[in-house]
């Protein structure tokens, strides 16, 4: 049985529709990440699952029970907030044990649960401190600990790493992944950072403007995006998206370049406006060769990203592994028709 089912869930604030019909099924133990640009409704969707935001229409089902109208505490969920939302007047131990105290769990049992969670997160020495005496990373752990203690069916995370510095962010990300493996609980995780989504998720839900753009495993989204938005959002640096025009059923013109896509199943009509996508890392191997002048180089050591242009209004980023290009150099790039993505005028993928 699925852990969570969203059925045509919608949300409006006054007259603005923030979530415009989301259907989603999440299996037990899955790690699902909601990703999308800021303001697309990720937090709202998560808060509707938590019961912190009323659902305008549609239903939310958790573990087979319709909880659309249920209060947050009747949903078997725990949530980690972006700001951690630790109770400032309680010690770490009191913070973590608060839910059990409300549930009238006896003190010894409560202490045992708190200590176990503290051990998992390695925050045992902090148990008697107040949140104000903790660093950002430690507060983050306490917030996660507070969620663990409740043994919830579903964990909800709302951008839990965005208040940490870069190094701590990577470290905590790995720990959350480890935690997921250890607990085996269902986790729903919201982020605007596609790297977090790629590294953590079993499945990614890409949201834009309150609509699900695509759902799938990270590699599926990367290899086979359904539309130009997902193609551009997943992957770093982002996919090059260039305007092109069809010249025949399987051929098109990109700037001064004529390309043929023999594997294309859709048929183009000559003159049709298209968007051509190609990832920076797919521009070095086989395919149609063309020269480009290097404008800017982002040198990362192991690899380098070269910025240039194929023509006016055709900027291109190329990953140049193993070479050390310099500004003003001319480099040869290769456009492999098998690795080109084609999107129609509305951004829908043409396969």
């Amino acid at each position: 049985m699925a852990d969570l089912i969203l059925n045509d869930v919608r949300k409006s604030f006054g007259s603005t529709d923030v979530i415009r019909g989301v259907d989603l099924t999440i299996e037990p133990g899955e790690f699902v990440v909601f990703v999308g640009p800021s303001g697309c409704g990720k937090s709202t969707l998560l808060r509707m699952i938590a019961g912190l935001e009323e659902v305008t229409s549609g239903t939310v089902t958790i573990a087979g029970t319709d909880v659309t109208e249920a209060e947050p505490y009747d949903r078997g969920i725990a949530m980690v907030f972006q700001s951690y939302a630790l109770y400032p007047h309680m010690t770490v131990a009191e913070n973590m044990g608060f839910a059990l105290r409300l549930a009238r769990v006896p003190v010894p049992e409560r202490r045992r649960a708190v200590e176990e969670a503290a051990r998992i997160l390695q925050i045992e020495p902090l148990l008697d401190r107040k949140p104000a005496q903790l660093s950002g990373g430690q507060r983050q752990r306490v917030a996660i600990g507070r969620a663990i203690v409740r043994k919830p069916r579903v964990f909800l995370f709302d951008e839990p790493l965005s208040n940490l510095d870069a190094e701590l962010r990577v470290q905590t990300r790995i720990e959350i992944a480890r935690l997921h493996a250890a607990l085996g609980a269902t986790m729903i995780y919201v982020t605007h950072d596609q790297t977090e989504a790629m590294t953590l998720a079993d499945r990614i839900v890409v949201l834009r403007g309150g609509v699900v753009e695509q759902v799938g495993r990270p590699t599926d989204l990367y290899d086979d995006p359904d539309n130009a938005f997902v193609a551009g959002f997943i992957g770093s640096p982002r996919m090059n998206l260039l305007p092109a025009r069809a010249t025949g059923p399987q051929s098109l013109r990109l700037g001064t370049l004529d390309l043929t896509l023999p594997q294309l199943e859709s048929r183009l009509t000559a003159g049709q406006a298209l968007t051509l996508g190609v990832r920076p890392e797919h521009l070095q191997d086989a395919g149609q060769r063309i020269e480009m002048t290097v404008d800017v180089v982002e040198q990362l050591g192991s690899t380098a990203f070269v910025h240039g242009a194929l023509g006016p209004d055709l900027p291109l980023v190329v990953e140049a592994r193993g070479s050390r290009p310099a500004m003003g150099d001319r480099i040869t790039i290769a456009l492999d028709p098998a690795r080109l993505y084609l999107f129609d005028n509305d951004g829908q993928r043409l396969r």
């Binding site: 045509d8 919608r10 409006s12 019909g21 019961g51 009323e54 659902v55 305008t56 229409s57 549609g58 109208e69 209060e71």
Partner: protein, 301 residues
């Protein structure tokens, strides 16, 4: 697509059921108290003001009779005249604490001490202040003794009609300027010190800094203090009048709030007292209207 989505919008209420229920529960005591003791009495008072009720007797409806009577009531006229005099002194009530606050802010020696001492009278009850000054301002009281020391003639501060109102107002001013001073200091402390330092670096004199930098930035606070003070002098002087002058001599220190009390209690004319109350309410509402205008303008609306 959008047309099929419309009928699905079933829940449009604000907040969850628990939130609505608890909000009602949590607000009930506050709302019930305010309604029972303030808002319903206000409406009821308006009704009463249209009757000739005396004592606890239900009165007859007499329309605007009470209001008409006011026009010819010498006590009411005196109270109004005193109110006008009081309002004319308003600039002093604002300027004195403002100047003192500015001096403290500019670093007058002993400023911190003055700040805490100045609001001491403000925490004392008007009954206590009134009782003390009732003794101090007697003909043989400490003030006249002090004046005599300086070779000045004694004055019957509370006993003569020409000085009683002045005495009352001065005592009230003395007793409350500390509050306004604190408000000004709170406002001054929010001014950016960089702004002041920049002006100082430009070579401005201390007084120029005050006039060109501090004063203009203080306008919202000056307005706020003016409004708060006006409301205060219209509604918070009962205790002082009660023990210091009892409205006298004659009607020299009778203000509307005291007259209302006299008419309701001593005179046993609740209908007429209610009508007086409505006049005071109109005054209050006028000031509140000004306050709302000021606040919304300052909020940039």
């Amino acid at each position: 697509m959008t047309t099929t989505a419309q009928p699905q919008r079933r829940r449009r209420r604000t907040g969850s059921r628990a939130e609505r229920r608890f909000a009602l529960l949590f607000l009930l005591p506050a709302v019930a108290l305010v309604l029972t003791f303030r808002i319903v009495p206000l409406l009821w008072g308006f009704g009463l003001s249209l009757t000739d009720a005396t004592g606890l007797q239900q009165g007859q409806f007499i329309g605007l009779g009470n209001y008409a009577e006011m026009a010819g009531d010498p006590n009411f006229r005196a109270a109004m005249r005193n109110t006008v005099i009081l309002l004319l002194t308003l600039p002093v009530w604002v300027l004195l604490p403002m100047i003192l606050a500015s001096l403290i802010h500019l670093g007058v020696p002993g400023g911190r001490l003055y700040r805490s001492v100045y609001f001491f009278p403000a925490v004392l009850s008007s009954v206590i202040v009134g009782s003390i000054f009732n003794v101090v301002l007697r003909y043989d009281g400490a003030l006249n003794a002090l004046l005599g020391f300086a070779g000045l003639p004694a004055i019957d501060w509370l006993g003569s009609g020409s000085t009683a109102l002045l005495s009352l107002l001065t005592v009230q001013l003395w007793a409350t300027f500390g509050m306004s001073l604190l408000i000004f200091l709170a406002g001054l402390s929010t001014l950016s010190s960089e702004m002041i330092e920049a002006a100082r670096l430009d070579g401005a004199r201390l007084w120029q800094v005050w006039g060109y930098v501090i004063l203009p930035a203080m306008r919202p606070i000056i307005e706020f203090v003016a409004v708060v003070t006006t409301i205060g002098v219209l509604t918070n002087m009962f205790g002082l009048i009660y023990v210091l002058t009892a409205g006298g001599p004659g009607t020299a220190t009778t203000l509307p709030e005291f007259l209302i009390w006299l008419e309701q209690g001593q005179m046993g004319r609740p209908g007429y007292a209610a009508a007086l109350s409505m006049v005071l309410f109109a005054l209050m509402a006028g000031i509140a209207w000004i306050q709302i205008r000021i606040m919304s303008r300052n909020a940039g609306l």
